[in-house]
Amino acid sequence: MNDKYAPHIEELAKALDGIDQDDIQNELDKLLRFRVPLEEAKRTVLNKFSLKEAREIRIKDISKAPNSFTLKGRITSLEKKNFVLKGETVDLYSGKIVDETGVCLFTAWSDFCLNVGDIIRVRNAYIKFWNNRPELNFGQRSIVEKLPEDSFIPSNEQCFAQTKKIIEINSSDMLVSSQGIITELYHRVINIKGKDTTIIEGVIADETGKLPFSSWVPMDGLDIGNAISFKAAHVRLFRGIPSLNFTYGTSWELLPDNKCLFSKNVIITDEPTSIPIASVLEKDGIFDVVVTGNIISVRPGSGLIERCPVCSRVIQSNVCRAHGNVVGVKDMRIKAILDDGTGAVYIMLNKELSEIVYGRSMDEAENIMKVSLSKDAVYESMKRSLIGTYLTVRGNSSKSEFGTTIVARSAWIPEDDLLCRLELLMLKLSEDV
């Protein structure tokens, strides 16, 4: 065989770690003799060998896994779901699988007769990223083999809960352990399958951040202001914001003050402080964040709008996308871009906040529109009074295909002790003269 293929064979050997170079050469040679173009021949060889020798992967390495691989583990939870695909009902199974190194969500796209507690080896499994979490998938080409009991594989997933600070908890965590102070707490009765159930919702905070939590199990003796330590809470996602979910597998205990690693008072009385927008952009979503910057653009769609009375969608000329001809409900909002020199976020202000920030009530805004006889008059007037100004916004941030957005829960014009900041800068400037 021609020497000019040597580099290609070497490249293939590198990609197919552990496969004999002669085998690769033979295979490539065969294809090339059929006048298969080189690129296609290489691809075929690569596919052929990597399929045969699908590597065995541990769950801890799953995010670096190759296209197709083998994995051994125990099913710890399983749920049957179905959905309608092209008029046909399709069953799928999803659950969790553990091995000695970790826990992972999986989806089986056909019935592999799985049961909770089974130890299985699955070949030709693949991963997909779902909400930033690698998720194991068993597809049509996957082969599942049941193995005898192996006591080295844990029988529950709770032992894999990582201990983290609140701010570090993110969407890639499945189970997490941490400590914090309950700063908000509500009881809510909801109806599930005809049965009234009380669930607990609230906010838990430490010195690094805060997160919403919910519990489907009673948490007797818990009150606002308590410090708790918890193990193996589930991490869920809502619009990119992680939230903690306490279930039967989660354990928690009240922390006495002397065991508390952070100052309770500081967290409870903590004034909201702005963080750089750059650090908001780094995360998929942050719960209750405060940023300060300049309004550098007021987006179209700000000003007076009309909403569908049924679904609250914004409507044009009294026609709703879903509900047809309706009588619109008047509303006012501001959509703007806030930039602090480190980054830019979209901000959304509802009617109440728009009135405060814009400095005019909705009635006054309607008057502006009536007097000028122009639909855009309020939008134009908003631009004139807002562009360039400073604003602080507090709310939840979330990242979507349109960029990172903060839906404001509150907004105000930031106080600034300009003289004090100026003096401080002057001091810094004179240090090295």
Binding site: G341, A344, R384, L419, L429
Partner: protein, 292 residues
């Protein structure tokens, strides 16, 4: 996923107008990548695409009448304490052009825009802003912009300084700056800037002097404005006591009375709001104010 929005950089005219290093992304073999933003690198290593500037508009000129020029081309000069930004608004910036045609000169304006570089011939480079948004703002926003910009500029100068210290010690810059936790992209632009402009210690100390001057120029104002506000508040409060016979005072008559004493409506409104915030007075019904 959409490309992330370009940050509106804060930098002084002195630094902006010196930013003659333009970065055009090249896909391969001199084919420019049309989707990538135009970038300038400033002498301190800022990657400039969009800027946010607050200054005094000192001159507006309509170039539309000149022959051979685009119709309706407006040029404006916006001064900050270190220099002047040049603004061009043409037919594709109709809103900015309308604004410039009616703006009062001088007045404070805030501008969001893209940095443009024009190089008609070698060794003559013109840097300007093409406005996306332009608006009149108060002097407080201008002052605050200067403090913000000074702070950000100082941070960059300090970063440059550290790079120089390392350079003196003969460290491998390419790898070393990374260790400091500086964003690798920024690291690259800083090194590019040093190489292109020959930015050195003199530049840093010279710029620091400019920052001092800039801050001093508003220090007096910042002080007087605070005092003015306090003074105004006192005057309003005294006048309020005089006028309020227990039934309250109409907002409009209070403002009118204050105007006759040389306090503008704007200042009066801020003062009254502040008194309301402090709980010194309240508004039993819209337009009527009453002392506590």
């Amino acid at each position: 996923m959409m490309a992330e929005r370009e940050i509106a950089q804060r930098l002084f005219a002195k630094e902006f107008n010196g930013s003659t290093l333009s970065l055009t992304s090249v896909l391969s073999d001199d084919v420019p990548d049309l989707n990538s933003p135009n970038l300038l690198i400033s002498p301190t290593g800022v990657r400039i695409n969009r800027v946010f500037v607050v200054g005094v508009i000192t001159e507006v000129e309509n170039l539309g009448s000149e022959t051979g020029k685009e119709r309706d081309l407006w040029r404006a000069r916006i001064a900050d304490p270190t220099g002047v930004f040049i603004l061009y608004a043409g037919q594709y910036q109709p809103e900015a052009a309308i604004f410039l045609s009616t703006v009062e000169v001088p007045s404070y304006v805030a501008v969001v825009g893209k940095a443009r570089i024009y190089e008609p011939e070698k060794d003559s480079v013109f840097i300007s802003i093409r406005p996306e948004e332009i608006n009149n703002v108060g002097s407080n926003i201008r002052d605050r912009w200067i403090v913000d910009t000074a702070k950000l500029t100082l941070k960059r100068l300090d970063m440059l300084n550290e790079v120089f210290l390392d350079q003196q010690q003969g460290k491998d810059l390419k790898n070393d700056v990374k260790l400091k936790g500086i964003d690798p992209d920024l690291n690259e632009t800083i090194l590019d800037a040093i190489e292109f402009y020959g930015t050195d210690q003199n530049y840093i100390s010279d710029f620091k002097q400019s920052l001092r001057t800039a801050l001093l120029s508003i220090k007096e104002n910042a002080g007087t404005e605070m005092q003015q506000k306090d003074n105004a508040e006192n005057v309003i409060f005294e006048l309020f006591k005089e006028l309020d016979s227990g039934k309250g005072v109409q907002y409009s008559s209070l403002v009118k009375e204050l105007e006759s004493r040389g306090i503008s409506e704007e200042v009066a409104d801020i003062g009254i709001r502040s008194l309301l915030d402090k709980g010194e007075c309240y508004e039993p019904r819209p337009g009527l104010l009453k002392l506590i």
